[in-house]
Symmetry: C2
Subunit: 682 residues, 2 copies
């Protein structure tokens, strides 16, 4: 399998029971996990049900009748007792328990001739399970850098009164074959009391360190050595944990790993508290230059991490003192700020970071609330705007090991792009702007409760079907919701390929607003904010700029190595945001290139994946550094063809329809279908 | 010369002018440096001149007449103008400027038939000069572990915007051929501003570190690597200093070294401020176990060192920030206390230290007032009572490199003994007690101003001739003075070989006291204390125990390897105390073995010598650790023959006169001479 396309070689993973939901009168069927929400199933199936409250049982519009099968859900005042007995339910409040047949009453779909369009499942593209993720990378073996070893030390006698340290090292050699161990000198202060209080039965924590290797800027040397960093009383060899972190500009993710059992004990996330000082890396750098600013930024993110650590050890039922190591991946600015390194010159031309490779530091010295022996390893960066998060992601996805030409993307405020294979890797970062994270959008918000996440439009009435995160009254629009909405608008002819609303459509929802025309997604009484929720032409323009920047990034990077989109054999989509994307719709708007859907692979948080891999397999550290050295960074802002590609991509999906033949064809068909239906509806 | 006896291969050192002093009526001659004090010259020559005030011109008894030659000295009321014109002077106030002939008037020597005994010069044995010391060790080359390197770094450009660190390392590689450098991560915090404020012209401090090697308790690995530890603005490569320290139980010595010029810029010493918490290592350990005791002890000695550092940088005209490194040697307890390591179990059987080898620590973390980048290397110990000071001394003396069987001794409260050569080394420590440092002696004191340092006795009148340090009124007796006194007493028959005073002598100075008999060295009106200064039989007993412990140490150690005193080809005497010893008299009392005097070599402060050597020659670190591993420690207290040897040595010089044939013969002759003279005097 080596060198081939990524094929996951795991045994089949046990899936939750799946059930079949059939929607009538459309006779559309979809398979979903048992327990799935019926409104979500309808969205997945491409069946339109009226729903303007986001799924909070507030509007009562999504009434359906269960004809067959088992469902469950709370009673609601919107359904009378009589209706309930007949099988009426609110779709948004109902979960399916078995195969079911659902009738959508005429008042719920409003339009008898509902779109029977076929579409790929939202989850098109491979979404890889947790267990499968580990097999993305070839040839890795379970060999954590950290090791805990219970050892019984010989107490001193008159005949053998060597030093405490000597006795301990002799015991480690005798019982465990460990030689040439060096020692963290701090341990010596506690050594005599620990040994004696533990009756000479102790657990040693050992780390495989290396001659510091240094990523191009230094010379790589492979030799490793073992260092004794901690000693605990009694046998605690089985309590051996590490923490991995993805330090995002917006969100910090953490996992607590059981190093012995190769398990994730907890996964948590929280906003990076630095947000209060600016939304993007540039505004953070600006803030860092104010008096005390750098310190505040560092303390903020460390505070966030400390909160996550507390949460994880509680969730995992782990004593914090048993955590042996930390690994963090982040973009270059986040890595600088995490450690309190001055990011000033990252922002000033010619954009130089302090260092790409940062030797592991003692975590307590940076303010992390962990044991004194814990070191923090940060993933090496490549350049000012290509950080350790992408190195970690490339590592975690294994693309640097395989022959197929792969595009790796992490879509975000700083879109990061890697193209290459086992022979070479080029990388670039493009400033997509915050639209994907809900920034710069009139009613944009982050992907949290109340964010409009999925969207359908009635092709005749142009009435919306909203689904929010948490199924509550809509509050705003998150990035993935925005993509879904724009794609839906485009397919329904609500907007034209240049992103402007079609003013001639017979719907009061399209109206002039302060930012050009706008579409009312929900009226004031249906929203959480008590104000109309709208999407404006300026919002659409912002999204178009963001997707154009990403697309121009891939194309320019490919051109710089003499290749084209068509030559891509695989597209790996990383990032929390990436995992919520509807692949087909992302292609529809031209954010992702039009390629066969089976070439796409979603790996979730790639940088956490790489950090996790390194925690379990020390040997992979070399790979991380090799990747960082393999990567050639292309500065897009310096590349003259980037701007041409960008302007060409400022269209839905693209000015050159040949780049999106399928989408163009679909839009043509769709628009004629809409035309026909509109005529019929008159 | 390799493998041979230590022969100093340096060009002759320029000596100060030497002049000849001839004493009449004895017609005794001695060569001394021009400027020598006349009383001291008399002592050296073995000529007795009355002097009971220690040399302060107070008693006026040491009148002499300059017959020929040039002298100088202040006028004193004890010599009239007329007498002065005739050539009369107080010997204690007179310095010789040319060859002189001195008449000792009858009233000054009191006994016409002054002893014309021949004796070796006090300075018998080789006393090695500073420059010569460096050539004791073979094959060392100037290669300090620390190196400063001025380097011009390329500023970043749009085409080359590698990280600041990368640029610096590239410059070090290009300009200095340095590769594979690792970096102290702390430097990164200051890196961007230093580079830019210095206009990219900086001085790097680089250290050759090693895979930690570990003295038997660990495996030794030879590979070294270069680590960047400091960066300064501009060209400061020529300001490159280190500090070496000898942490003694009583005294701390320091030298400030110019690493580039291989020079000592300052040498200072001060009492170890820990003295306030106890005189010896045992009482320090006891104190360390009180609440807060360990911290106080550590802070005390660090305070002493900080004081010495301040003094040295002022003396040397050096900015403290230019000091790059510190090396310290001390006994095991002192090393523990210097770093704040708990010495508790050094004192409790079976006497285990925390560690013999301690990895270099960051000096500021232990409280030393030096730059953040400065590391402190402490010499490895061998066992609880054989410390890094002795390892350093063996290193500095080069005895581990040569074939001749050598006895190395550092006489002190903890007498340290090494026997061996380039093939093997055995070592032992014996608790001699504090007598050599004036402890446990009724009027004992440290070797400071007012301490009785040299001593002669009139063989007929048994009147004393005292010489004190600083030539002031006597205050007490220091260790070397005690040895001189006991030897003189023994030779004059004032005490018998079992250390008891001869009560039958016709002198009022021998009298009963609270501690057995005592001898009055000076009456109350002649002393600085205003009380009689006496030496008691208990004092003598204490000294005998101390010297017996040392001697039994050598013998037991030799026996443990199947050898005897006679097989010793060389005796190296180290330590500040050692350098004040009168070799012949130390043999007379049986402290040093009776061997030809040319086999003895005095090297002064051996541990400072080794620390200094390592500062100039990094390669020698391996030798230090090799020595520590070569050394087999013999626990004397566990050795049954030690007690036998000890008891046999509780005699002056020894119960077995065959071990000191020369001394025994001399005492026999002397006693008959004294007998004859006494008869004549009647």
């Amino acid at each position: 399998m080596d060198g081939g396309k990524i094929i996951i070689e795991k045994e089949p993973v046990l899936l939750p029971n799946r059930v079949l939901v059939r929607f009538q009168p459309h006779n559309r069927e979809i398979e979903v996990p048992a327990g799935e929400n019926l409104l979500k199933a309808a969205v997945e199936a491409g069946v339109y049900i009226q729903a303007s409250c986001g799924g909070e049982a507030f509007c009562g519009k999504c009434r359906v009748k269960i004809e067959k099968g088992e469902t469950e859900g709370p009673r609601t005042p919107k359904v009378s007792e009589e209706e309930y007995r007949q099988g009426f339910r609110l779709a948004c409040q109902t979960r399916v328990r078995s195969d079911v047949e659902v009738l959508i009453p005429v008042e719920s779909h409003l339009d008898r001739r509902v779109i029977a369009r076929t579409r790929e499942r939202v989850s098109a593209g491979r979404r890889v399970s947790h267990q499968e993720l580990e097999s993305l990378v070839l040839g890795w073996c379970y060999s954590p850098a950290l090791r805990k070893q219970f050892v019984e030390v010989e107490p001193p006698t008159a005949k053998d009164n060597r030093s405490d340290l000597s006795r301990l090292l002799v015991a480690l050699k005798k019982n465990c074959g460990l030689e040439g161990i060096s020692v963290d000198s701090r341990l010596l202060w506690r050594l005599p009391s620990i040994l004696r209080e533990a009756d000479w039965k102790v657990t040693a924590t050992l780390v495989q360190t290396r001659m510091e290797s240094q990523l191009g800027e230094y010379q790589l040397r492979g030799s490793r050595r073992t260092k004794l960093i901690n000693l605990e009383k009694g046998d605690l060899a089985q309590e051996h944990y590490s923490i991995v972190l993805d330090i995002g500009t917006t969100t910090v993710w953490g996992q607590l790993l059981d190093l012995n059992r190769r398990k994730t004990l907890a996964e948590v996330s929280d906003y990076n508290a630095q947000i209060q000082y600016g939304d993007d890396v540039i505004s953070r750098i600006v803030y860092s230059q104010k008096p005390g600013g750098l310190k505040k930024l560092q303390e903020s993110v460390v505070g966030t991490v400390n909160g996550l650590i507390r949460e994880m050890v509680v969730k995992g039922g782990v004593d914090i003192s048993r955590v042996s190591h930390m690994t963090a991946a982040g973009n270059t600015v986040m890595t600088h700020l995490l450690l309190g390194l001055d990011p000033k010159y990252i922002r000033e031309s010619p954009y130089t970071p302090v260092a790409n490779y940062i030797p592991p530091i003692r975590a307590v010295e940076a303010g992390f609330e962990v044991g004194e022996h814990v070191h923090l390893y940060t993933f090496p960066s490549v350049a000012s705007y290509v950080g350790g998060d992408i190195v970690s992601g490339v590592l975690g996805s294994g693309i640097y090991q395989r022959k197929p030409l792969t595009l790796y993307i992490d879509i975000g405020t700083n879109g990061e792009i890697v193209i290459g294979n086992s022979e070479w890797l080029v990388t670039a970062a493009c400033s997509a702007g915050p639209a994907f994270e809900g920034g710069g959008i009139k009613h944009g918000m982050r992907a949290t409760t109340g964010a409009l996440e999925d969207f359908r439009i009635n092709p005749v009435s142009y009435e919306p079907m909203l689904l929010t995160i948490g199924m509550v009254k809509p509050k705003g629009i998150c990035g993935s919701g925005l993509i879904n909405m724009i794609a839906e608008f485009l397919e329904a002819g609500v907007i034209s390929p240049n992103g402007k609303f079609n003013a001639e459509l017979p719907t009061p929802r399209i109206r002039p607003g302060p930012d050009g025309r706008e579409y009312v997604l929900a009226y004031a009484e249906e929203t959480a904010t008590g104000a109309d929720l709208v999407i404006t032409e300026v919002d659409i323009d912002n999204l178009m700029r963001a997707k154009a920047a990403m697309y121009a990034g891939y194309v320019t990077l490919l051109q710089s190595v003499g290749l084209s989109i068509a030559s891509l054999e695989q597209v790996v989509i990383a990032g929390a945001f990436g995992s919520f994307i509807d692949l087909e719709r992302a292609i529809t708007i031209g954010l992702l290139p039009e390629l066969p859907l089976d070439r796409f692979l979603f790996i979730g948080n790639g940088s956490l994946l790489g950090a996790r891999l390194i925690s379990f397999c020390n040997e992979m550290l070399d790979d991380g550094e090799r990747i960082s050295r393999m990567m050639t960074n292309i500065e897009l802002s310096e590349n003259p063809s980037f701007m041409d590609n960008y302007i060409a991509a400022l269209f839905l999906p693209h000015t050159n329809s040949a780049e999106f033949p399928g989408v163009s064809q679909k839009l043509k068909v769709r628009s004629s279908e809409f035309g026909v239906r509109k005529l019929e509806a008159l």
